[in-house]
Symmetry: C2
Subunit: 139 residues, 2 copies
DNA sequence: CTAATGCCTACCAAAATACTACGGATTTTT
DNA sequence: AAAAATCCGTAGTATTTTGGTAGGCATTAG
C-alpha cells in the first residue's frame, strides 16, 4: 500500500528538472546532492524515465537531463506509472469477485484522479513555498 | 502501491462473516474452502482482527468466528488498517517537502474516502450480484 | 588530454510476502 | 471417556521486492 523510493525519488528528479526547465541540462549529481540521495541509485531510476521518453539526456561534461515536454504537460501519474507500474491497488482486478472488484476500482480511480491531475508544474511551484500551515495529520 | 493478500484475504473473511451475520459462527475451514484459500494462512490473518476486536471467536467443534458489530458499522478501512497498517501512500508524510507532502495527503485522503465509506454490508450485498456490466478497465 | 558527465551490468543485504509445518488448547458430539 | 472439530501460537522458509553499491565504459566540453 506504499509508493516506494523509486516513485518518490523519481518524482524528486522530475520536480528538479521542472524547476530548471528552459535553462539547460541538470546533472544527476546536482540533484543527488541537493536532495541527499545516492547519485548511482538515481541513475537507475532515470533510465526508465528516459526509455519512456519523459526526459532526454545530454552526455559529456556539463551534460545532464532535461524534460522532453513542458512541466505543465507531465503529470505525477506519468512518472509513477513508469517507475511503479500500473496504478492499481491490486494485481488482476478483473479476477476479483464483483464487490471487491468495485472497491479496488473506486480506489484506483481515486488515486488516478489525484496523480493524473497533478503536473510537474504544480509540484515545482509549490516546492518553493515555505512551510504549509494548518494541515491536519490524521490516520 | 499494492494491497497485499493480507488485506485482500482479510476482507474476504470479513465479507463471509458479514453474509452469515446473525446465524452463528462461521469456521475458517468453510471460508477457506469457499474461496480456495489456505485455512492455515487465514488463521494468521484473523488473529490480528480478533486482537483488534473486529471479530470474536468461538472455540471447539462447530465453533468459528462472528463479527463483533453489525456489518453496516464495520468498514473496509477498519479491516485494511488492521492488516496493512495505516492508510498512507508513503511512510513519514510529515518529513517530505511541501509539494510532495500535499500530493501524498491528497492520495491518502482519496483512498481513505473510499475505504472508510465502504461497509461490510455494502460489500456483502454486492457479493451476491452476478457479473458487473459495462465497467471500463483502463490503466 | 582530462574532467565531468551519462550509460550499463552485475551483485548484494535486508525486509516483506505468502505461505507451510507442527503441535497444543478448547469445546461439542458420540 | 473418546473422538472430532475447531481455534491458537510459534517457527521456519522460498520467493520477491527494495534500496542500494561496485566497477567500468562511452561521450563531450573546455
Amino acid at each position: 500500500m506504499k509508493i516506494s523510493t523509486k516513485g518518490r525519488y523519481g518524482l524528486t528528479i522530475m520536480i528538479e528538472l521542472a524547476k530548471n526547465y528552459g535553462e539547460g541540462p541538470t546533472s544527476l549529481k546536482t540533484i543527488a546532492q541537493a536532495n541527499d540521495l545516492s547519485e548511482h541509485y538515481l541513475e537507475q531510476l532515470i533510465a526508465p524515465l528516459r526509455n519512456a521518453g519523459l526526459v532526454k539526456s545530454i552526455r559529456g561534461a556539463y551534460g545532464g537531463y532535461i524534460l522532453t515536454d513542458v512541466p505543465s504537460k507531465i503529470t505525477a501519474g506519468d512518472v509513477i506509472r513508469v517507475l511503479e507500474g500500473p496504478i492499481t491497488p491490486v494485481e488482476g482486478i478483473e479476477d476479483e469477485e464483483p464487490a471487491k472488484r468495485e472497491l479496488w476500482i473506486r480506489i484506483r480511480d481515486a488515486i488516478k484522479g489525484v496523480l493524473d491531475n497533478t503536473t510537474l508544474e504544480d509540484l515545482a511551484s509549490h516546492s518553493e513555498d515555505g512551510e504549509m500551515e494548518g494541515y491536519m495529520f490524521y490516520i
